[in-house]
């Protein structure tokens, strides 16, 4: 009954979305007030119903109810509880339900609390939200019903891909979906503003927390995904330019551009059409990403179960949503009045350059990801990897980082170079010192050299805007910006140093043998069989000592799962403040030795610390923005109450 109840909730939610769409479009007319008053409650109830449906899915997974097809296909009664629950969204149907649920919850939230925009614009926004939602409901109910039953129920479930049995991966899709869905809200706001020709700073302010929230989740999702690939795949790399990774990077690039252009619109009422355009592009990147991952038209190391018919459905949604928005944009773009002016040398000017560079990188990543598809249409099979992505995107990222360093120092509207000259000299000096030192002492290659120098430039520049201001009174968003920019420097430092100084050692070692890698001496002390809840493994016992110091134990494994049967390498990592020792054990050689693969990766952890700092910066900015909104709302309420009192 639980599955049927969940399905019924979904159907109800879908019909409420239809009601919301109809009421929002008809409510725009004169005399449609009654209809219009239905829209917000519809959104809220719809959110509740979706939430209940999702809870029902979690419930059947927690109980391993094998009469539900999805559970039978993706779960197993002997799986640990946490992975049973995570299994609910570790598959196509469940993840689409999660997407729809998050989207409905977000829609319910704006319906409940957002009253700053003119009601017409809000109606149009909620209508657009319902329209997008309806497409996904149709997708769920007609092409990927998560609650379908099988009869008779099988005796046991089909397990979960052991590669997916990992806590990081269990949390990864929800994180990315929060990001994607946040961008869908930004998209709805953009369409609402376009429909009602109401592109104002208020619109940007209302949209901004959603972009920020989406951006934080995308940042964390990419950071976590990169770390997952790093320790789980056992290849020692942290970014493979794999289509699945690119699919999460592209929305992030668009969201980063959107975040900055929305802040120009909010503070200065400039870049109106551009911000709308980016709102559309950011969500279209989310959908293209989902499409690429789910349709299976690109091959990837992160193999998902994929299906062309579902791809067709997502493609249709993409065409309708984004195509419709673009047509609307083409029709309306020239009716939006031009915003405030600014000089090229100004905060706005720098942000425009940032936006152009980010868009260029976005285009480069998109082109590289799609190029194999284009050539395949002509019968030539190619793959595009780091030799393309690294230098080409760096050609735009590096100059952009220079602008990132200087931009926050500039004033809005217009500025004089003489005013910022001392700061620019300080920044440039820091960069040059590091550049020369690294070049002369370490003799780095071009890209790591530029990377390290730019990291120094950005790190110094990140905190210059705080100079001469009272740190206590500094608004949180400014702190957020400084920390996020500093995070970029930290991540860039990690990437460059890892690229330049990583030492790799591949060898076959007998028990008792010593292998040296960088400053480490690693001894293979034993190889033992071990067993886990649903796997058995050969575990290598390693004793590693740093520059002859005390030994640390590491235990990389080569695991064999039994449902479904599959072998994976579990790397073992040893983290010091200045880097990580990364160890993988492979199979046995004929003469009884064991394959060992060791890396010493200096400062590699800085990559993910940087990512976390960027996310933290975003979080501070979000808290700052939201608390100002809340305070303002409380104040207006108080004023209204006082007025009512005095009137009495």
């Amino acid at each position: 009954m639980i599955a049927e109840f969940g399905l019924a909730c979904l159907w109800l939610a879908a019909s409420l979305a239809a009601l919301q769409l109809v009421a929002a479009s008809l409510g725009q007319r004169a005399g449609g007030e009654t209809l219009a008053s239905v829209v917000r409650p519809a959104a809220v109830v719809q959110a509740l119903l979706c939430g209940v449906a999702f809870l029902m899915l979690l419930w059947v997974f927690a109980r391993t109810d094998l009469s539900v097809l999805l559970v039978a296909e993706n779960s197993h009664s002997e799986k640990p509880m946490i992975y049973k629950i995570a299994g609910a969204w570790g598959n196509h149907e469940g993840s689409m339900l999660l997407w729809v649920t998050i989207m409905a919850l977000a829609g319910g939230l704006i319906a409940l609390i957002e009253h700053r925009l003119p009601e017409r614009t809000m109606l149009a926004t909620l209508g657009a939200q319902a329209f997008v939602g309806l497409g996904f409901y149709a997708f769920l109910l007609f092409a990927s019903n998560p609650f379908a039953r099988i009869s008779p129920a099988p005796a046991e479930g089909n397990g979960l891909n052991p590669l997916l049995q990992d806590i990081g991966l269990a949390m990864h899709p929800p994180t990315l979906y929060m990001g994607y869905v946040g961008l869908s809200i930004a998209f709805s706001f953009a369409v609402g503003a376009l429909l009602t020709r109401n592109v104002t700073p208020d619109f940007a302010k209302v949209m901004r927390p959603w972009i920020l929230g989406a951006w934080i989740f995308l940042t964390l999702g990419i950071t976590a995904g990169s770390y997952w690939a790093y320790y789980e795949l056992g290849w020692g790399g942290w970014w493979f330019w794999d289509p699945v990774e690119n699919a999460s990077l592209m929305p992030w690039l668009a969201a980063t551009a959107l975040l900055h252009s929305a802040s120009v619109l909010a503070s200065r009422d400039a870049l109106r059409t551009w911000t709308i355009m980016l709102g559309v592009i950011a969500f279209s990147m989310s959908m293209i990403g989902t499409f690429l991952v789910r349709s299976g038209i690109l091959t990837s190391v992160h193999a998902f179960a994929v299906d062309p018919t579902r791809g067709t459905f997502i493609l249709a949604l993409l065409a309708i949503n984004i195509g419709g928005a673009l047509v609307l944009f083409a029709a309306r773009a020239n009716t939006i009045a031009e915003g405030e002016r600014f000089a090229p040398l100004s905060r706005e000017g720098a942000l425009v350059i940032n936006n152009v560079a980010l868009s260029a990188v976005l285009g480069i990543v998109l082109l590289g990801t799609l190029y194999p598809l284009v050539t395949e249409a002509f019968g030539v099979r190619v793959s595009v990897g780091p030799p393309y992505f690294n230098p080409v995107s760096a050609a735009f990222v590096f100059p952009m980082l220079l602008v990132l360093a200087v931009g926050p120092l500039l004033r809005w509207r217009r500025d004089r170079f003489a005013r910022v000259k001392p700061a620019v000299i300080a920044i440039a000096a820091a960069g040059l010192v590091v550049l020369l030192a690294m070049w002369l002492i370490a003799g780095l290659a071009l890209f790591p050299l530029l990377g390290v120098s730019l990291a120094a430039v950005v790190a110094v520049a990140a905190f210059l805007p705080l100079q001469g201001r009272s740190l206590k009174r500094l608004p949180l968003p400014v702190w957020g910006m400084a920390i996020a920019h500093f995070g970029v420097a930290v991540a860039l430092f990690g990437m460059s140093v890892d690229t330049a100084f990583t030492v790799e050692k591949l060898s076959a070692a007998g028990v008792g043998d010593m292998v040296e890698v960088g400053p480490w001496q690693v001894r293979l002390t034993a190889v033992e069989p071990v067993a886990g809840p649903n796997w058995t493994a050969l575990e290598g016992r390693l004793s590693a000592s740093y520059k002859g110091g005390a030994g640390h134990m590491l235990a990389p494994q080569s695991r064999t799962f039994w449902a479904p049967p599959q072998t994976t390498s579990e790397s073992a990592l040893l983290t010091r403040w200045n880097g990580q020792l990364y160890t993988v054990v492979g199979g046995a050689t004929q003469d009884g030795r064991w394959q060992l693969r060791l890396w010493w990766k200096p400062f590699v952890t800085f990559i993910w610390f940087g990512g976390l700092l960027i996310g933290l910066g975003g979080l501070l900015a979000l808290i700052g923005r939201v608390s100002v909104d809340v305070r303002r709302r409380v104040a207006t309420r108080r004023i209204a109450a006082r007025r009512a009192e005095t009137a009495r």
Binding site: L69, A72, E73, H92, S151, P154, A155, E156, G157, N158, W235, V301, A305, V306, D307, T309, E338, R341, F342, A343, P344, V352, V356, A357, S359, A360, G363, I364, L367, G368, Y371, P372, T375, R381, V382, S383, V384, P387, Y388, P391, V392, A395, F396, R413, R414, R416, L506, A508, P564, Q566, T567, T568, S569, G586, G587, T589, Q590, R593, Q595, R597
Partner: protein, 151 residues
């Protein structure tokens, strides 16, 4: 330059800037794609028309049974990849992927150097337990059987 630009100028500067960036990005991307995309070969093609040694390519085929040998260092593997018409010797130093074995299909990434394919990376696929993506689309009846079969 200190005065705010006239609207027309401002827009012009932005448009020119954006256009220049797009053109530069497009040109750079096109050039790099032409030079850096790695092509997919099968053994008979790579034998007939070997790519330059500095060019990263992919090679796909079957690992011929009986050819897989490991060097005394324990980590370098030699084997022959075959498509029925042609065959290429391949060397690979590293830990082979779990699905890699004799007689299975393999896709190797690397360079063709003096008639030998030096692989940087191996991607094994299509093993005996492979489940094609079409399986997701089975009827309920089939899925039930499948689930029962694989317990």
């Amino acid at each position: 330059m200190t005065a705010a630009f006239k609207p027309k100028h401002q827009r012009l500067v932005l448009v020119v800037l954006a256009l220049a960036a797009i053109l530069a990005a497009g040109a750079l991307a096109a050039w790099a794609l032409k030079n850096q995309a790695s092509y997919f070969y099968i053994p008979s093609e790579i034998v007939a028309n070997p790519p330059a040694a500095d060019r990263a390519v992919r090679l796909g085929g079957m690992v011929r049974a009986g050819t897989l040998k490991t060097s005394p260092d324990g980590v370098t593997m030699h084997f022959v990849v075959d498509d029925g018409h042609g065959q290429v010797p391949v060397t690979f130093a590293g830990i082979a992927p779990d699905l890699f074995k004799e007689g299975s299909g393999v896709v190797a990434e690397g360079h063709m150097i003096d008639g030998t394919f030096v692989a940087d990376n191996l991607l094994a696929k299509h093993d005996e337990n492979y489940v094609p993506r079409e399986l997701q689309d089975m009827s309920k009846q089939q899925a039930r059987q499948t689930v029962a079969e694989t317990k």
